[in-house]
């Protein structure tokens, strides 16, 4: 058995996401009979089904995929060998135990499940791993045909699917009755036939009852105090007291220890596990470092969490008094009695529960893009001034479909023209875009940046084909100077990668014409990782100013809710790069003017944050790409136009508005592998934009007089 990959992740990237899931599911299906640990047989089956369902057009709930993959792991058991003698043969086919066949079969299913998540950018790696694990499992029973069959599937999928990763692609049936045909194109191996028919052996009884879920009861543990030390007063902890690791901190430690002496304190220790983070060196004092497990928590959080200490009194009744006294000292930022947790029960198939419709849960706290700069665009502050919520401005989103009945969208959003695409992926996308811009304020769901604006939509599908230029032109005819058009589409350019729509002349002209009418056009730069200044684009719309505001995808700041809230364990912001640096997939160049959050934007649709049988209450934490970035800018433009109309009784010209956005924005940052020369521009900063706009207006008046 060699460890050569059956198919590399790079090769698999030529497939769509659904194609990849179909590929992985079939790899796992081939060796499924080799897995025989009865208590996890269902989990393995479920894991494969998750991938199959996504391949067939399912939503691809990432929490479900993650849970299904984890469920296959179970406790580290010892799968029984499955020994089979082929009829008519004396040869014994044996699944040789956990280290080989069964474990490899299980791994194949686990990796397959992970490809069943609509958002996971690691899908090619998981699919490749599923193929490798399946080949390993089959090889362990002396069969090399699993690898051949996988390659056969890959070739067939390449012919069937015309879009590549990270596109989701069209649904595909991965079963043997689907277009991929039999799992084993050269005929089923004997072991496969035999094992599939044979019942799984019952597990041996053990004195260990295993993990049983019983009624939840409060454990007999003491109350304790959580102390958050002031950031500028670093202290160490000893077994029962605070220590002063640095000169000048002795008095702080002494004052705290004096309080501790008034109580019978049994332990003083770090609140988080004492494991070093990658870049944090152990201090020379030899005191425990209050870091966190490497890879579990971003460094930015580790920095904050190192200030947390547990103080455990012998008598729980002392906890509150102890907290109150500690809190009064200068060395302590906060102190409180630790809450007693209760189990968070995760429903296996619906990790994103539905709220009490119509009063679904409030997700506004996780909309970091609303927050103050430099993290967000300062939308919440903008709403406090007249017009700052975009009132009086119309925003037209141009793409393919929307769920206009979503509970958190204003009633009566008008489809100006074109035909809606009856496809869930397109509908979720449009709904998510509208949510960022105009979702309703209140206790339900999210709130849009420009919730005072009026949204309208226009489908780019006209006469049964895409006609983006026609949609822009038609929308412009319905709108007025000061209104905003958002182009939420991209096209495949000359390198086979995605580029902005203004690459094509007709679309470029339509944008120019709309801008000439005073309409602000905001356009997604696209997710092709393309340099628009490259020679291949010379003479095209990617090196000419159409008048549009072209938007790149920037890395958002670390967001508490992203990492520690729903979806914990999934890639967080900190793994994408430096805040406000270009995200690897975003196109860039001189014509890219500004950036928005391009990763894990909380908005409507998709259902990973709140799911249900009804789309109308779906929310997501993970809307990403130049798709999530562009509505932030379009809505910011609407806020500025709303404010301009109040201040100077007319909106800004598109050119002036773009100038204001660029000059007032929070600058782009460089990051590893993404220097500033890969230009995507600043993140909008609304309060500075409002101030800049006033200045701009004054200067213009001065020039005119």
């Amino acid at each position: 058995m060699n460890d050569e990959p059956v198919i590399t992740a790079e090769e698999l990237k030529k497939l769509s996401r659904r194609g990849m899931a179909a590929f992985a599911a079939r790899c796992a299906r081939r060796v499924q009979p080799l897995f025989d640990v009865q208590e996890r047989v269902k989990a393995v089956r479920k894991a494969i089904e998750v991938a199959e369902n996504f391949a067939k057009g399912g939503v691809g709930n990432p929490d479900e995929a993650y849970a299904a993959a984890k469920a296959t792991e179970g406790s580290k058991g010892h799968p029984e060998s499955r020994e089979v003698t082929s009829p008519g043969s004396s040869r014994s086919i044996s699944a040789s135990g956990p280290s080989e066949t069964a474990e490899a079969a299980r791994e194949a299913a686990g990796y397959a499940a992970r490809t069943g998540s609509f958002y996971d950018l690691g899908a090619p790696t998981y699919a490749a791993a599923a193929a490798a694990a399946a080949a390993k499992a089959a090889a362990a029973v002396g069969d090399g045909r699993a690898a051949t069959a996988a390659k056969f599937d890959h070739e067939k999928l390449l012919k069937l699917h015309h879009v590549a990763f990270p596109e989701i692609g069209d649904p595909i049936d991965p079963s043997e009755s689907g277009p991929l045909g039999p799992l084993w194109p050269d005929g089923k191996p004997k072991w496969f036939v035999i094992l599939r028919k044979r019942p799984i052996p019952k597990p041996r009884r053990s004195s260990d009852p295993g993990f049983l879920v019983r009624a939840v009861s409060q454990p007999d543990t003491p109350d304790y105090v959580v102390v958050e030390l002031s950031k500028d007063r670093p202290l160490g902890v000893g077994p029962k007291a605070f220590a002063a690791p640095l000169p000048g901190t002795e008095s702080d430690a002494a004052s705290l220890n004096k309080i501790l002496a008034s109580f019978d304190v049994v332990t003083v220790r770090p609140h988080f596990p004492a494991v070093e983070t990658p870049s944090r060196a152990r201090p020379s004092t030899g005191l425990p470092v209050m870091g966190l497990q490497e890879g579990v928590v971003p460094e930015a959080f580790a920095d904050a969490f190192k200030n947390f200490v547990q103080v455990i009194p012998k008598d729980s009744a002392d906890s509150q008094k102890l907290a109150t006294r500690l809190k009064k000292t200068n060395a302590v930022r906060d102190a409180y009695v630790a809450p007693r947790p209760v189990p968070a029960v995760v429903t296996p198939l619906a990790a994103a529960p539905e709220g009490k419709a119509p009063g679904s849960r409030n997700f506004e706290p996780s909309q970091g893009y609303l927050h103050s700069p430099p993290n967000g665009i300062g939308a919440m502050a903008a709403w406090t001034v007249p017009g700052g919520d975009g009132k009086g401005v119309r925003i037209c989103d141009i793409e393919g479909a929307w769920n206009l009945k979503h509970e958190d969208l204003p009633k009566g959003i008008r489809l100006l023209g074109g035909t809606m695409i009856p496809n869930l992926g397109w509908r979720n996308h449009g709904t998510a875009v509208l949510g960022e811009m105009v979702s309703l304020p209140g206790v339900v769901g999210t709130v849009g940046i420009a919730h005072g604006a009026t949204a309208v939509v226009h489908s780019a599908v006209i006469n049964g084909v895409f006609n983006t230029a026609g949609a822009i032109s038609a929308a412009a005819a319905e709108l007025s100077a000061g209104d905003v058009i958002l182009i939420e589409l991209q096209g495949t350019g000359p390198n086979g990668k995605y580029v902005a729509m203004q690459y094509w002349r007709a679309e470029f002209l339509a944008i120019q014409a709309a801008v000439a009418k005073g309409i602000v056009v905001v356009e997604a730069a696209g997710n092709g990782d393309e340099d628009f200044d490259a020679p291949v684009f010379q003479g095209t719309g990617l090196q000419t100013d159409s008048g549009a505001i072209v938007v790149g995808a920037g890395v958002p700041p670390t967001n508490y809710f992203d990492y520690f809230g729903f979806g914990a364990g999934k890639p967080g912001y900190s793994e994408i790069g430096t805040p406000r640096s270009r995200i690897w997939f975003s196109n860039y160049g001189k014509i890219v003017n500004v950036q928005g959050w391009g990763w894990h934007v909380t908005t409507l649709g998709y259902g990973d944050l709140q799911g249900s049988a009804r789309e109308n209450v779906w929310y997501t934490l993970r809307f990403s790409g130049t798709s999530s970035a562009s509505p932030i800018v379009a809505a910011a433009a609407a806020c500025i136009q709303g404010r301009a109309t109040v201040l100077k009784r007319s909106p800004l010209t598109p050119s002036d508005l773009r100038d204001v956005l660029i000059k007032s924005g929070t600058p782009q940052e460089p990051g590893p592998g993404v220097p500033l020369s890969q230009h995507i521009g600043p993140l909008p900063h609304l309060s500075r934009a409002f101030a800049q706009m006033r200045k701009h207006t004054t200067e213009t008046r001065g020039r005119l007089s």
Binding site: P422, S459, A469, R505, A506
Partner: protein
Amino acid sequence: MTPVMKDDPPGMEPFVKPHIVVKLKPGWAFDPSRRAFVSQDGDVVRPQRDLPKGSRIVPMAPKLTREPRATLSTAEEELSRYFQVILPKGENASAARDAASHWPSTAEVSMPPKVSLPGVV
């Protein structure tokens, strides 16, 4: 308001009809009643002769083609010369492109952009 095509199967199949983009030379226009391109000098090109039965020719920005030329901006005037030639399903767009490139009215002919969503989810 255009109705949602409820009867269509899910996915993109209904929206991938083969088509090409044709840009007319200045001075040419499409006359829908004659289903022909006509020039200011009276020349006529009948594209249907070169196209499969059931093909349609539609302006990309229909409203602009109805406006008086003098009222259009430079960009609008140029945009009004763009047309889509939409072929029945299963027809070969490359063949139509080759045919269109020989029409005297044609300034440019190209395959349409392959459009997708810039979302990463």
